[in-house]
Symmetry: C2
Subunit: 303 residues, 2 copies
């Protein structure tokens, strides 16, 4: 079963604590999602790039068998750019610049052949745009959304409406605190899931793993232990890719399936951290991911 | 198999974010260790209090069947005092005052009947004092130590020597970073275990659980999810109590036993957070702890 993703495709400029700067590497939620999700299910892409987006990066998506029919390539325009600098401990980063380019006027158009896709991931963008994607779908897809601080602050009413149309949400710890208004993440996860009547809500905590809230339970899970993190950019979108694509593959969202999704998502996100930009994901096979997921699930067994 | 603990017994003054202040509640590493370890193994205590330490608190230790033969009660002196204030999010706290009292001149004396105890927990104190405890033991006990920032900074050589005489170490994330000189906790856990040639090293991460480093592996484990934390004071010592007492009970320290120890430790530490000072531990039974440990181990199973 394929999974559809709607989100950003970017040219990133990443400055690492060792002083190195990497210019115009492929980035954005879609790029990471494609590379991680494709280990588990076929991926359909809705997004936009400018004429400056290198063909070799598009070929990279095609190599992962992504269906790019929903990708708008706008010749005279520029691809979205994110420039960021990581602090010494790799846990904090600052955004140095954002150049929206094509994303400034992006209107997501779902091609007819994508409209019955069973599983949809709405990567972070304005909730009105996320809603417009759902409006175009036929039937009731299993929709999972992400969001960020700016939309929680500026578009709360639209966001609340959008999340209630979804079955799942995957956000990070800061977003969960901002959205719930409380500091305790367990209470935030449980409360937000209830408030939005979601099948599940995941709160991502980076190196500390995450919390999976379902009806009547909040299940904590650790991160895959890495002694060295090369570049955590996109790890959250990789997590979402592994998670939603696993649910699409399993065609279920019971607690056991959600746990399997969390394991696969954790494994693939850990690979993302081990290379610059997409490099950690392009040099591995589905077999590598399966092996790490199995190893992680076994190590996480406490009794 | 009994477990022996050497550490502080205190009268704490705790200020919570709600503005409430609790004066002279029982505290100190020994007090928490006794209450948590006693769910799993008989506890032998080496420590000191002043004449001002309330009899009802001593009766509380006896109720948990703690053997107090190593407890020095110094009539004319004062019990150690810690005064602390928790910040709004309960994750940070400041120490407002320390009054050492009897601990200023404390010399741990291990009574003859304690000297063959198989498992010993050296709660944080000067490494020279921790070493003096080991000097008095007969045979080679399974010794586990803790430490804090001040000894890492001021007594590094003595600390290094002491840890090398131990089989295990249980410290928190900040201490692991300070002791290893690196930020990555997985690398710190693995590196410190190797450096000190320990059977295991646990890095505690509070609400994020912890890392268990053994030969060739670092096993991450989550915390028990709590929607409300009343008072986290002593949770780390409770974790150590549950951990070391479980190893004493099992008489083993293979990976499976260490995981069982982490589960029991996590369960009992979570109860500690649910009440002020020792209250979360005095109102529960061994059956409650067993049930929560089993529930936690089941929830933590990811596949």
């Amino acid at each position: 079963m394929p999974v559809m993703v709607v989100g950003s495709i970017a040219l990133d400029t990443i400055r690492l604590p060792n002083g190195r700067e990497y210019k115009d590497v492929p980035g954005g939620s879609c790029s990471y999602f494609i590379h991680s999700a494709s280990f588990f299910a076929p991926v359909r892409v809705v997004g936009a790039v400018g004429g400056d987006f290198p063909k070799k990066y598009l070929d990279g998506f095609r190599k992962r068998k992504a269906d790019l029919e929903g990708l708008q390539i706008r010749r005279g325009e520029k691809t979205f750019q994110w420039h960021g600098t990581y602090m010494a401990d790799m846990n904090d980063r600052v955004t140095d610049a954002l150049h929206f380019g094509v994303l400034g006027s992006f209107d997501p158009i779902v091609p007819p052949k994508f409209r019955k896709t069973s599983h949809v991931f709405l990567a972070c963008s304005q909730p009105q745009l996320q809603a417009r994607v759902l409006d175009q779908m036929e039937g009731s897809p299993f929709a999972v959304c992400d969001t960020i601080a700016i939309y929680i602050q500026e578009n709360r009413a639209e966001l609340d409406k959008l999340v209630k149309r979804c079955q799942g949400m995957i956000i990070n710890d800061q977003e969960a605190r901002m959205l719930s208004g409380g500091h305790n993440l367990v209470a935030a996860a449980a409360g937000l899931r209830r408030k939005y009547r979601l099948r599940f809500l995941v709160v991502k905590k980076g190196e500390h793993g995450g919390l999976l809230a379902v009806k009547d339970a909040v299940v904590p899970f650790p991160a895959y232990p890495l002694e060295k993190v090369s570049d955590p950019t996109g790890a959250g979108d990789c997590f979402a890719g592994g998670f939603v694509a696993t649910l699409a593959r399993l065609g279920a969202a019971d607690l056991g399936s959600l746990k399997t999704a969390a394991v696969n998502a954790t494994a693939v996100a850990s690979y993302a951290c081990q290379g610059l930009a997409l490099a950690g994901l392009t040099r591995i096979t589905a077999g590598d991911v399966r092996a790490r997921a199995a190893e992680f699930a076994k190590a996480a067994r406490l009794g």
